[in-house]
Amino acid sequence: MSSPSTPTVTAPRKQAGRNGVQRPGDRLFSGAARGSGLLILVILAGVAIFLITEAWPAITAPADAIPGGEGLAAYVAPLVFGTVLAATIALVVATPLAIAIALFITHYAPKRMAQGLGYLVDLLAAVPSIIYGLWGFQVVAPASVPVARWLEENLGFIPLFAGPTSSTGRTMLVAGVVLAIMILPIISAVCREVFIQTPRLNQEAALALGATRWEMIRMTVLPFGRSGIISAAMLGLGRALGETMAVAIVLSVSGGITLNLIGSGNPSTIAANIALQFPESSGIAVNTLIASGLVLFVITLAVNMSARWIVKRANRSGDGR
């Protein structure tokens, strides 16, 4: 065994084997590295196992023991609805905006400024969610009231804007818009990366054929980046589904399932409901909240995995291009 610090002349010859010489230092180090990797697996399994353990009492409890008295499914259903509704609004608002921003940074802004502008958008992601909550409550909610009034008067026939308008502005619409701002940087960052990778030759070919800049983008950049855009939107959706504090502060919650986005009675979201109820809960109520957290975990897991899957598939087909 040669000491690691004084490699002997014979060592290289021994390393002719496929894996080389295994010194104790090597074994220790690679063991530690592999152990850390395995620990990640253990942690993720632990998240699932401990959540299930703590949620189990609520899953097996009789229906009338659950807060609300109608069983776990009835407790979680409006929350799931609220979660999906808020995330959908966020996605609908954020995706087109994010694509436009990504296009601006990659194809419209002066080259020298592009990186700085991208950094500016990334700053939106650096702001902690609690601050978006305070800001949404303080600034966006009051500012939204006249807009919501207008929507009610002019588009009131659509169930989404049926009203009556909430006087505080703490509505599903505002929560969705604040969420949209929060997921904007993630979506636009992924889109940006995809758009930059568009083959230069395709773009130049389009321009050489006399296409205007928009025609070039429509014919090369967007088709090339389609799967990237989809997965970016899914990643944003995953983020919006799990976002807690902004919704907890902004949204005025009072139960039921409703499609009315500008009223004062809104369904809560899973995450916000946990944040609001958990500190004051005890006993079976805690288990119920953890069970709802488990549902959220499963939903976001499914969304994120399918996003990754789309990316992977796109990459694979990209290789054969």
């Binding site: 620990l39 500016l120 609690i130 928009w214 805690v286």
Partner: protein
């Protein structure tokens, strides 16, 4: 499918609007967009000055009118294709502007409201025995530093070693499984990480447990994948020549990694770690669940509730005491402090990467 659409549509589209149509049409002078913008801005400004002035509606109104104006003008002078191009340029540029409105508004709001209480007392007093005005967030700031520090202590070695495994050792199924799970871990909602920490500690310490170290575990779960990802990226950037040179000198693999690979990528890794800390330091939801809040100083993460800056801000804002104003002021100042910490960390990360990165000699 992409190839065909990128390959065929251009030729189809380009052939139809013949060259002559482009050449015959006049084009707008270079200063036209600026002129339209100035005219629109002036018009909106005059209208606003006569009625009510509002920065946001001024900007939005100007952008909308400009989009319509430049399209109409270009449509009449230059034709449909160029008009569409100008329309998209205007829309895309305004979209970027729209994204900046919340950023500016957040900063203005938080700074404006937070300056009120940004004084020495805020940073040197806890809330112990305080009713109404006075007091500060010293306990919460210390709590945030302790919890985040512990989280970094757990996740940085774990994340870095995992990244080293993935880049230097990982082959086959285990490595791809870990890569996949790190991706999955990135998507764990912060509140679920908090619930996990609670569930974990509740199994050992009984229900209703509140502990600073629990918050650290939750934050570590959120932070580890970020550290893994950024370290991985940086290790991949280290040129293979360096590794091969070291191997050729007969240096063991582990020493190659420790003495050659890591020092080369250290700046990048430090940047990544700093950004990861910046990302979790503002997390509220998991700490709300597991660390709880308290009004007095608690420096022991293994014993009892521990206040943190975001949670302090949250409770001061949503359940203020009487009178309300001192509580709201403290909430905003805590938010301002938090934003300052995050911005300093972000800038620090950029500084680290610009000052130390050219060491690779490229």
């Amino acid at each position: 499918m992409d190839l065909t659409s990128t390959g065929t549509t251009p030729t189809n589209d380009i052939r139809t609007p013949t060259r002559t149509s482009l050449r015959k049409r006049a084009s707008l002078p270079r200063w036209a967009p600026a002129a339209v913008l100035a005219a629109v801005l002036g018009a909106v400004l005059v209208v606003q000055l006569l009625t009510t002035f509002n920065v946001v509606t001024l900007l939005v109104g100007t952008a909308l009118l400009y989009i319509v104006g430049i399209y109409a003008l270009s449509r009449t002078v230059e034709g449909r294709r160029k008009a569409t191009d100008r329309l998209v340029t205007a829309v895309v540029t305004s979209a970027f502007g729209v994204a900046l409105i919340p950023l500016v508004s957040v900063v203005v709001t938080v700074v404006g409201k937070g300056l009120e209480r940004l004084d020495g007392e805020f940073f040197t007093y806890s809330m112990r025995g305080i009713v109404g005005a006075g007091g500060g967030a010293y306990h919460a700031i210390m709590g945030t530093l302790i919890v985040t520090g512990l989280a970094a202590l757990m996740s940085v070695p774990l994340g870095m070693l995992t990244a080293i495994y993935l880049v230097e050792y990982g082959r086959g199924r285990l490595a791809s499984a870990i890569t996949f799970l790190v991706d999955v871990m990135t998507g764990i909602p912060s509140i679920v990480a908090g619930l996990f920490a609670y569930a974990l500690f509740a199994v050992f310490f009984g229900p209703g447990v509140r502990m600073g170290v629990g918050g650290a575990v939750a934050l570590a779960v959120l932070m580890t994948p970020v550290v893994v990802r950024s370290t991985e990226e940086m290790l991949k950037l280290v040129p293979n020549d360096l590794r091969e040179a070291a191997f050729a000198l007969g240096i063991p693999k582990w020493r190659t990694i420790v003495k050659v690979v890591l020092p080369t990528s250290l700046a990048g890794i430090a940047t990544g770690v700093t950004l990861a800390i910046a990302r979790v330091i503002g997390e509220t939801a998991p700490l709300l669940v597991i660390a709880g809040t308290t009004t007095s100083m608690n420096l022991n993460p293994f014993e009892g509730r521990m206040a943190t800056l975001p949670v302090f801000s949250y409770y001061s804002y949503v359940s203020p005491g009487v009178p309300r104003d001192p509580y709201l002021d403290r909430a905003w100042t805590a938010a301002l402090t938090l934003i300052l910490i995050v911005m300093v960390l972000n800038l620090g990360a950029r500084l680290i990467s610009t000052i130390f990165s050219p060491k690779t000699g490229r």
